[in-house]
């Protein structure tokens, strides 16, 4: 080996100091007493889904502050530790691991994207920490990659698309599809078609469109859809893609010539404002304006007072997820993961969106899916859904047989 020069050596030593410093921090943190119950939240605060993660953090934080104001959980205060996984599964893994092994968090709230969700779930499994998913909804979480420490409060992609088929199936005959070219969207169409065939055997698909994620120009797809003349366009677009599609389709009168049924989030309604056409069939996870119960009213009021904003689906579900964890720990009488799992399995949670229980086999919460049509609102500065129908989870979630098959194939 040839000479290197002392500068290189010193730099190496600098790098090495970081390693040592890390070790010291670890030793220091061990000395800390674990007084509060620590809640770890790794989520994608950087990247295209940042807005969702921010709402989620707001919701979780609000639930925690409410508990702390009322004496905490099990007589201990809750402490929230938030980490940014930047939509990178690798970072999701390392942050979650760090939260567990260095910060000694007792319990976890899941992230934003499904890819990071799978990564976080794997770490939770390895270290036996309870994690609740409030945004990622790949069916792989409760199905083939299931483990007992994972609970989900989100209708999975499978449940959502089936719910859509239940609602649309009886009324429309010809369909066209548009959805981002990625796994969840392909799976979604598959589940939709399967259920559609049961609900309406005459129904058929006349066109499928797979724009790439982040596609800036939907015109070619719009002209294809116009030419295909379906009764109904089933969309698995969301966020900025959905907004781009709707804005670009309007001048073509697409929504007068045919109809659109799509995933829809509060963020989309807010961003489009008056530009959102009326009569679009939207499927939402937690539309606060369509759910009337005292818990939701109280939540919306305090959320608005605190953040000066209307709560997005993510905020509602983050809040609910944190409450489920807290009630689980209360019920278990400890923060021991196995005890908490048992407790949540038999928990009846009175949430903002309804009464929720978790199925023992896949830890899927029986959350409904809300489907309605967009319309003007006098009360809010954005369009809302009207005639909202809540499709129950029991109607659409996978059967035991399906779960077994999926898990066997893994």
């Amino acid at each position: 080996m040839k000479a290197k020069g002392s500068a290189g050596t010193i730099s190496l030593i600098a790098a090495l100091c970081m390693v040592v410093a890390g070790a010291v921090i670890v030793l220091a943190s061990v000395a800390q007493a674990a007084e509060p119950i620590k809640v770890g939240l790794t989520t994608d605060l950087t990247g295209i889904a940042a807005a969702y993660a921010r709402s989620q953090v707001n919701g979780v934080r609000m639930a925690i502050d409410e508990y702390n104001a009322n004496g905490g959980v099990l007589g201990r205060q809750l402490e929230l530790l938030v980490r940014d996984s930047q939509l990178k599964p690798a970072l999701g893994t390392s942050h979650t691991r760090d939260l567990i092994t260095r910060e000694n968090v007792d319990i976890l709230v899941g992230p934003d994207s499904s890819a990071v969700g799978l990564a976080v779930s794997a770490v939770a499994k390895q270290y036996k920490r309870v994690v609740i998913m409030t945004i990622p909804n790949t069916p792989r979480l409760p199905m083939e990659l299931f483990h007992p420490y994972m609970f989900t409060l989100v209708p999975s992609g499978l449940m959502e698309t089936r719910a859509m088929a239940e609602v649309l199936g009886p009324k429309y005959r010809t369909y066209a599809f548009i959805g981002g070219d990625y796994e969840a969207s392909h799976q979604g169409l598959k589940y939709f078609k399967e259920r559609l065939a049961q609900v309406n055997p005459d129904a058929k698909f006349v066109d499928e469109n797979w724009p790439k994620l982040g596609e800036p120009d939907f015109t070619p797809y719009i002209t294809r859809l116009l030419a295909a003349k379906p009764d109904m366009i089933f969309s698995y677009l969301w966020g900025a893609d959905l907004i781009g599609f709707i804005k670009q389709a309007k001048p073509y009168n697409l929504f007068e010539r045919t109809q659109l049924a799509t995933l829809l989030f509060m963020d989309d309604l807010k961003a489009l404002g008056g530009e959102m056409p009326n009569g679009i069939i939207g499927q939402m996870r937690a539309p606060f304006f369509a759910i009337n119960n005292p818990r939701m009213d109280k939540f919306v009021k305090s959320y608005r007072a605190r953040y000066d904003d209307y709560p997005a689906d993510w905020a509602v579900m983050g809040y609910e997820g944190m409450q489920v964890l807290a009630q689980g720990m209360e019920k278990a009488g400890s923060t021991d993961s196995d005890a908490v799992v048992k407790a949540i399995e038999s928990l009846t949670y009175e949430g903002l969106t309804g009464t929720i229980t978790f199925r023992n086999e896949d830890h899927q919460g029986n959350v409904p899916s809300f489907i309605g049509r967009t319309t003007d609102s006098r009360q809010y500065p954005f369009k809302v859904l009207t005639g909202v129908r809540a499709v129950s989870a029991e109607q659409v979630w996978p059967t035991m047989e399906e779960i077994r098959t999926a898990r066997a194939s893994q």
Partner: protein, 362 residues
């Protein structure tokens, strides 16, 4: 264009003496570094063991990349292709053929190397910006294939790969990676200090002159490209089992930017630079995302400061601090005497013409 500084005080010093001194210090430095890397993780929390594993893998990725940028003067913007192919090789062998991580990792450099050879054949005909863009375009094509081919690669879901039981514990996987990375880094060091490495440095300094003294420029560039691909493949092959997953994002162009940032932050004109850059990149990025809402901002600011004020990267800055403005022994020019602007220039026309005409002479 400014001139490279010629009045270098380092040259005045008795070369033999300082060389000997440096050699001893350097050897000691490397030994100390290895001892720390071996011993400290025994006392670290698990989280830091993972992070340090991440660091050693990224260090290999950055050092392999710098064989192109620092040594040969070629800016590849598609290096993630070989990193990702290594990762997917290991993941595919595990998922599809149930081949364990250990033998599988031996195939990762092979696959990455073959891809680098095929792609390099086209790329080395270009220089500068055009070279960077063609490497980027090929990498994006491979990304697209991996992203779209659900039935084989799992698409955007990624492909799981579990280390065998005896490597599952954080420390075991760390030492496994450490050994492989040390072997590969030592090999890279040998390459850099071999006559072949000197030839690469000559190409970086002045391709025309290199060709004139009988170096087959394109062939040497291609060989460097393949070597860089091979070792990136090893790094990728180590990364996938660490994450227990191969993701398409490992092939995406932003992943190609990582080694460029690491190498330049650490300093491309020394062998250690990319290692230092990888340490900063891995540890700092982790620390920043732990405490700060705007990690990109923090990292962007750091890179900006380094590029503007410390052109030799962190290693170069340290060198300057020590008042050692000298030429590196392995053909790396010292920080102050940057590579001859005529050599590493991005002006493609001239260099291609040179390479082309000289190739004809051989």
């Amino acid at each position: 264009m400014a001139q490279a500084s010629t009045n270098d005080p380092g040259k005045v010093r008795p070369a033999v003496l300082s060389g000997l001194l440096r050699q001893r210090w350097s050897l000691l430095g490397w030994l100390a570094f290895l001892v720390v890397l071996t011993v400290v993780p025994l006392f670290m929390g698990e989280s830091y063991v993972y992070l340090t594993t991440n660091f050693v893998i990224m260090a290999l990725y950055a050092v392999s990349f710098n064989l192109l940028l620092g040594q040969t003067g070629m800016l590849s913007f598609g290096h993630a292709a070989y990193f990702g192919l290594g990762a997917y090789t290991v993941a595919l062998l595990w998922s599809r053929l149930s081949i364990a991580v250990f033998p599988a990792i031996l195939l990762a450099p092979l696959v990455a190397g073959v891809a680098a050879l095929a792609i390099g054949l086209f790329c080395v005909r270009l220089t500068g910006m055009y070279f960077a863009m063609l490497t980027l375009a090929f990498a994006q094509l491979i990304f697209t294939v991996v992203f779209e081919w659900y039935s084989f690669t799992g698409g955007d879901n990624g492909l799981p790969v579990m280390p065998p039981d005896y490597l599952l514990a954080a420390r075991r996987y760390y030492y496994f990676s450490l050994v492989i990375v040390i072997v590969c880094t030592a090999l890279l060091r040998l390459i850099v200090s071999s006559p072949f490495g000197s030839a690469l440095a000559a190409i970086r300094e002045n391709p025309e002159r290199a060709a004139f003294v009988g170096i087959n420029v394109r062939l040497y560039q291609l060989a460097a490209f393949v070597f860089a691909g091979v070792f990136s493949g090893v790094a990728g092959g180590l990364m996938a089992p660490l994450q227990q997953m191969a993701f398409p994002s490992m092939l995406f162009w932003t992943q190609s930017a990582d080694p460029v940032l690491m190498a330049l932050t650490g300093g491309i004109h020394s062998f250690t630079g990319p290692i230092v850059g990888a340490a900063v990149f891995v540890f700092l990025n982790f620390a920043v995302t732990t405490v700060f809402d705007y990690p990109l901002f923090a990292f962007g600011a750091l890179v900006l400061i380094v590029v503007l004020f410390f052109p030799g990267g962190i290693v170069g800055a340290t060198e300057r601090l020590l008042g050692q403005r000298r030429r590196g022994p392995a053909g790396y020019p010292a920080e102050a005497g940057e590579p001859d602007p005529e050599a590493a220039t991005m002006e493609p026309d001239r260099s291609v013409a040179q390479v082309g005409s000289n190739a004809g002479n051989q």
